[in-house]
C-alpha cells in the first residue's frame, strides 16, 4: 500500500475554477497543479560545491475551444489566484458558458519510494560524492579530473478537468552522474556515466562509486583512441543508452503532433512495414522504476505500454488528449509537460526496442569492417525530413569481425526510414538508461533502451579515413 497522495486541489475549489474557465464557453477545461522541490550538489576539484535547493508550486489552467488552446499559469495555489488564471485563460472567448462535469477522484498508483531522499541528511549525499570522487580517481594516475553530481527531485501533481477527472501523482527521482577527464601527454579524453531512476535514495544502496569508475574507465580507454573513420558502413549499436537511436529515429516521428501537421516521415505509414520482422518496439510509461515512468501522464491519463512497432509493422502513434481527439483516437498516456508553466504535448516515456535473439558477439563477428557505437552523448532529429545525427561518446572500429581500436569524436548520421529498415539484427541482451529529452522548449526525463542492434549501413562522420 502506498501512502495517500497529497491533494493539491480541493475538489470544491477545482470545480469552481473549471466553471470559471468555461464561463465564456469552450469544449474542455483543465487545471494542472504542481508542487516541485529539489536538491542538487556536486563535487569538483575534490570540493563539494554548487549546493542548490529550491521549490515552487503553481498551476496552469487551459481552455480548449474550436481547436484553439488558451492557457494561463500562476505561481502559488491560492484559490483566488487560480480563479484569476481561469479568468485570464477564458478572456478571449465570447460564447455561452459551458458546464464542467462533477469531479470524480480516480485512484492512481504512484511509484513506491522506500527511502525519501529529502529525509536523508545532506551530509550523507556529500559523502557519497566524496566516495565517487575517490573511486573515479582511483582508476589510474592518468585521471586528471573528476566531477560528480547528485540530484533529487519530487513533483506532486493534481489534475482536474471538465470531463470530471480528478487524479494525482507523487513522483520522486534520484540521479547521480560522473565525468572524468584523462590526460596522457597532449591527449585529453572525457568519460561520462550516470545512474538514475524513479526511485528514492535506495537507488544508491548498490555501489554508487561504480558509476565514477565506469566514467573513468571510458576516459582512460579513449586515451588509446584513433580518429573515427568516415564513410558509410555497418554499425553495431550497444545496449542501454544505444536506445537513444530508436528514440530519435523513430520515437519523435511517432508523436502525434508532428504526424498531424505533415511534419513526420511516419505520416500515413500506420499498418505498413517499416522494419524487418525482428524489430518490435514499445513506449512503456509503466516500466517499474524507470526514469520515464509515472502513474499518470500530465493530463491525468493512466500511463500504458504501447506497442509502436510489432514485428516490423508500424502499429501506433503517441497521443495526448488533444491530438487523440483530433484523430478520433484515445490518449496513449503520452501528454507530458515540463512544469505547470507549460502546455502538455505528446512525448515519449520509456522507449525501447524489445530484446531479440541474436548474440552481441555474433552480430559483431559477422561484420568485416564497421563501427561499434557503445554509447552516445546525445542525438537530434528533424522528424519532417527524417534526418538524424548522434554524437558517439564511446565507439570502436570493427575489423575482420573483431572489435579493435577505440575511436574518438565520431558522429553517426542517417535518415530515419532507411536506418530503421536497415536493422538486420537485434540482440538478446537488454538495458535501460536515463536521459533528458528536449522538444518545443520543454525538457522531460525519458528512458531509452535496447539490446545490441545492428544496422546495415550508416554514415560515420569522423576526422579519419
Amino acid at each position: 500500500m502506498s501512502p495517500p497522495i497529497e491533494q493539491l486541489l480541493d475538489p470544491a475549489v477545482a470545480q469552481g475554477v473549471l466553471a470559471r474557465a468555461l464561463a465564456n464557453g469552450g469544449d474542455f477545461a483543465e487545471i494542472y497543479a504542481e508542487r516541485r522541490s529539489g536538491l542538487s550538489l556536486s563535487i569538483d576539484e575534490q570540493r563539494i560545491e554548487r549546493v542548490q535547493a529550491g521549490g515552487e508550486e503553481g498551476a496552469g489552467v487551459r481552455v480548449v475551444a474550436d481547436g484553439t488552446t488558451y492557457f494561463a499559469h500562476v505561481d502559488g495555489l491560492v484559490p483566488a489566484d487560480l480563479e484569476r488564471a481561469a479568468g485570464e485563460a477564458a478572456a478571449a472567448l465570447r460564447e455561452a458558458a459551458a458546464e464542467p462535469r462533477p469531479l470524480q477522484a480516480v485512484e492512481t498508483n504512484p511509484v513506491p519510494i522506500a527511502v525519501r531522499p529529502e529525509e536523508v541528511p545532506a551530509e550523507r549525499k556529500a559523502e557519497l560524492l566524496r566516495e565517487m570522487d575517490e573511486r573515479g580517481r582511483g582508476q589510474g594516475a592518468e585521471i586528471s579530473q573528476l566531477s560528480a553530481s547528485y540530484s533529487e527531485g519530487r513533483r506532486i501533481v493534481s489534475v482536474a478537468n471538465s470531463e470530471g477527472l480528478l487524479a494525482g501523482d507523487d513522483r520522486t527521482r534520484v540521479r547521480i552522474a560522473a565525468q572524468a577527464v584523462a590526460r596522457r601527454g597532449g591527449a585529453v579524453e572525457t568519460g561520462f556515466e550516470t545512474r538514475g531512476a524513479h526511485r528514492g535514495f535506495e537507488l544508491l544502496d548498490d555501489d554508487p562509486g561504480l558509476v565514477a569508475e565506469q566514467a573513468a574507465e571510458k576516459a582512460l580507454t579513449l586515451l588509446d583512441a584513433v580518429a573515427a573513420p568516415s564513410g558509410s558502413m555497418p554499425v553495431v549499436v550497444g545496449g542501454g543508452f544505444g536506445g537513444v537511436l530508436f528514440h530519435e529515429m523513430t520515437g519523435h516521428g511517432l508523436e502525434a503532433d508532428h504526424v498531424q501537421k505533415g511534419a513526420s516521415v511516419y505520416e500515413g505509414k500506420l499498418g505498413e512495414t517499416v522494419a524487418e520482422p525482428l524489430v518490435t518496439a514499445y513506449d512503456d510509461g509503466l516500466l517499474p522504476h524507470e526514469w520515464g515512468t509515472d502513474a499518470i501522464d500530465d493530463e491525468g491519463t493512466p500511463r500504458q505500454k504501447t506497442a509502436v512497432i510489432e514485428e516490423g509493422r508500424l502499429t501506433a502513434y503517441l497521443y495526448d488528449r488533444l491530438r487523440a481527439r483530433r484523430d478520433g483516437a484515445e490518449s496513449t498516456g503520452n501528454g507530458r509537460r515540463e512544469s505547470f508553466r507549460h502546455l502538455p504535448i505528446p512525448r515519449m516515456t520509456n522507449t525501447y526496442i524489445a530484446p531479440g535473439e541474436a548474440q552481441p558477439e555474433e552480430m559483431i563477428a559477422e561484420v568485416e569492417r564497421g563501427f561499434y557505437a557503445v554509447s552516445f552523448a546525445g542525438g537530434q532529429v528533424d522528424p519532417a525530413t527524417g534526418d538524424f545525427v548522434f554524437g558517439v561518446s564511446e565507439g570502436y572500429l570493427i575489423e575482420g569481425g573483431k572489435v579493435t581500436s577505440p575511436c574518438r569524436d565520431a558522429t553517426l548520421i542517417g535518415n530515419c526510414l532507411d536506418a530503421l529498415a536497415g536493422i538486420d539484427a537485434v540482440g538478446s541482451d537488454f538495458d535501460m538508461k536515463t536521459g533528458f529529452c528536449g522538444k518545443g522548449g520543454q525538457r522531460v526525463p525519458v528512458g531509452t533502451g535496447q539490446g545490441h542492434v545492428r544496422i546495415r549501413a550508416l554514415t560515420v562522420g569522423g576526422t579519419g579515413s
Binding site: R50, A53, E123, L343, A377, G391, T459
Partner: protein
C-alpha cells in the same frame, strides 16, 4: 521606480536579510519578474495562446569560502525566510574554496538606451496574433512547392530584475524582448519533406518583419528540394549566419574562465597566443541594445562593458565572473560575465552577446572566394557532437554545393568535423552582412569563409 520594481527590490532585500539571520556571513539575492505571452498559429488558426507572469527569487549565501544557493517563487515573508535559510544551510554543506567571496560594488552601471520597446505593451494580443498569421500566410504564398507550415510562433517577454547584496551591490533594470519564427515544409522529391526555419528578434513586436520571416522559412525549405549527399572530402566551407553563430557560441562557451581554470577548455593556457586567423575578430558586448542579452549589470551586479576576446589573431582574455577573476589573480577583474539563465540556478560564467566583426565581402564574393566547396546553412547535434574539453567537433550538416564560386545543388546528410581552434585559424574571410541570431546564445555575426574543413558524406 514602478511599483512592481519596488516590490522586487524589497523582496530581494528581505531575502538577503533572511539568509544573514539564518547564519550566512554574506548573501546576495536575484529577483526576477517575467511577464510574457506566446502565440502559436497553424493553418490560419490560433493553435494556442499563453499569457502569464512569473516571479521568483534566488539567494546565494557565503559562510567564509563556502557557498550555498536556494530559490523559490513565494515572495511573501515566509517564502523569503525559507529561501534565505536554505541557502545558508547549503553553504554549511559545501567545502571551503579560498577564492569564493561575495562580489563588491563596482561603480555606476552604464545607461543603456533601448532595452525597452513600448510596442510590447501597446500591441494587444489580437495584433500579435495577426503578426504570427502574417508570417504563416507569407510562407504559404511564397512558393507553390510549400506544402505547409509546422507552426508559426510569436513570443514576447517583459522582464524586471532586482539584485541586492549584503556587500552593498544594487542592481535594477527592465528589458523587453520579442521573437517570432516558423518552420516551413516543402514537398521534396519522392514524397519526402524539406523544412526551413525563418526567424526574427527584436525588443518589441514593432521591430519584427513578419513577411521577411515567412519568406526566409519558405526559401530555406524550397532551397533543399532534391538534396543529395555530397562527396567526402576536405574543402572550403562558407558558414551562413545561423551556423556561424552556433560556432561562435561554442567558442564563447569554451572561453569561460571556469572551464579554463579547471583544465576543461581547448583554450586553457593559451592566453596571448595565436588562436585564430586575423580575419576572425570576436567580442563580447553586453551593451548593444540590439543584443537581447544586454543589461546594465551582469548577474552579480558588475557593470557590463565591451570585451575584446580574439583580436589580431590572438586570445586577449577569458570571460570572468568575480570568482574566476579572484582565482586568476594578478589583478584580473571580472569581465561582467556572470550570466543568469533564471532565478533557479546560481550565476555562472557565460558570454553576454557575442559579436563577430564583419569584413568587406558580400555573400556572393565569399562564395566566389571559396570557389569549390559547401555553403552550410544548418547544423544539427551540436549538444552531442562537440567535445567542450578538447574542442573537437563532428556535427550533422546540410546546405548547398559551391561550384565555380556559385551556389549549386542542395546537399544533406553529411557531417563536418574538425576542432574549434583549427577552424578559427583557417577562417579566410568574414562577410560584410551581419545579423543577430538566437543560436549559440545571442550572437551578431556575418557569414564566414573557412579555408578547409573535413566533410563526410558519400
Amino acid at each position: 521606480m514602478a511599483p512592481a520594481q519596488q516590490e522586487l527590490d524589497a523582496a530581494a532585500e528581505r531575502a538577503v536579510e533572511a539568509a544573514v539571520s539564518a547564519g550566512a556571513a554574506d548573501a546576495e539575492a536575484f529577483a526576477l519578474q517575467d511577464a510574457g505571452r506566446e502565440v502559436r498559429v497553424h493553418g490560419g488558426e490560433v493553435e494556442s495562446l499563453t499569457a502569464a507572469t512569473e516571479r521568483g527569487v534566488g539567494v546565494r549565501a557565503w559562510i567564509g569560502g563556502r557557498v550555498g544557493y536556494a530559490y523559490g517563487t513565494d515572495l511573501a515573508e515566509p517564502g523569503l525566510e525559507a529561501v534565505g535559510a536554505r541557502a545558508a544551510e547549503g553553504a554549511a554543506i559545501a567545502d571551503e574554496d579560498e577564492f569564493a567571496a561575495p562580489p563588491r560594488p563596482e561603480g555606476d552601471p552604464p545607461l543603456i538606451e533601448g532595452l525597452v520597446d513600448g510596442s510590447l505593451e501597446a500591441w494587444e494580443t489580437p495584433r500579435v496574433i495577426d503578426l504570427a498569421l502574417t508570417i504563416e500566410r507569407t510562407a504559404l504564398g511564397a512558393d507553390a512547392r510549400i506544402a505547409g507550415v509546422e507552426q508559426a510562433v510569436y513570443a514576447d517577454s517583459d522582464q524586471l530584475v532586482a539584485l541586492h547584496s549584503s556587500a552593498g551591490v544594487r542592481g535594477a533594470f527592465r528589458a523587453t524582448s520579442a521573437y517570432a519564427y516558423l518552420q516551413a515544409l516543402a514537398d521534396g522529391d519522392g514524397g519526402g519533406r524539406e523544412t526551413g526555419l525563418g526567424f526574427g528578434l527584436a525588443r518589441g513586436p514593432a521591430g519584427l518583419d513578419p513577411e521577411a520571416i515567412g519568406e526566409e522559412g519558405a526559401q530555406r525549405a524550397v532551397s533543399m528540394i532534391g538534396a543529395g549527399k555530397p562527396a567526402s572530402r576536405a574543402c572550403p566551407v562558407v558558414l551562413d549566419t545561423t551556423v556561424a553563430a552556433s560556432f561562435a557560441g561554442l567558442v564563447g562557451g569554451t572561453l569561460g574562465a571556469d572551464g579554463v581554470q579547471r583544465g576543461r577548455s581547448p583554450f586553457a593556457d593559451r592566453l596571448g597566443e595565436e588562436v585564430a586567423a586575423e580575419a576572425l575578430v570576436l567580442r563580447d558586448d553586453g551593451l548593444d541594445p540590439g543584443g537581447l542579452a544586454s543589461s546594465p549589470v551582469d548577474g552579480e551586479g558588475v557593470p557590463r562593458r565591451r570585451i575584446d576576446l580574439i583580436e589580431g589573431g590572438r586570445l586577449r582574455t577569458y570571460l570572468h565572473d568575480t570568482y574566476t577573476a579572484r582565482r586568476a589573480g594578478d589583478g584580473t577583474s571580472s569581465t561582467a560575465s556572470a550570466g543568469r539563465g533564471s532565478y533557479r540556478s546560481p550565476p555562472s560564467v557565460s558570454p553576454s552577446n557575442l559579436v563577430v566583426e564583419p569584413g568587406d565581402l558580400d555573400l556572393d564574393a565569399l562564395l566566389g572566394e571559396a570557389g569549390e566547396g559547401i555553403y552550410v546553412t544548418d547544423v544539427a547535434g551540436l549538444h552531442s557532437g562537440v567535445n567542450p574539453v578538447t574542442g573537437v567537433f563532428s556535427v550533422g550538416a546540410s546546405g548547398r554545393e559551391i561550384e565555380g564560386g556559385e551556389l549549386g545543388r542542395p546537399v544533406r546528410e553529411f557531417t563536418i568535423a574538425g576542432d574549434l581552434v583549427g577552424m578559427l585559424r583557417s577562417v579566410r574571410a568574414a562577410g560584410s552582412e551581419a545579423r543577430w541570431v538566437p543560436f549559440g546564445g545571442s550572437v551578431l555575426t556575418p557569414p564566414l569563409l573557412v579555408g578547409e574543413i573535413s566533410v563526410s558524406g558519400l
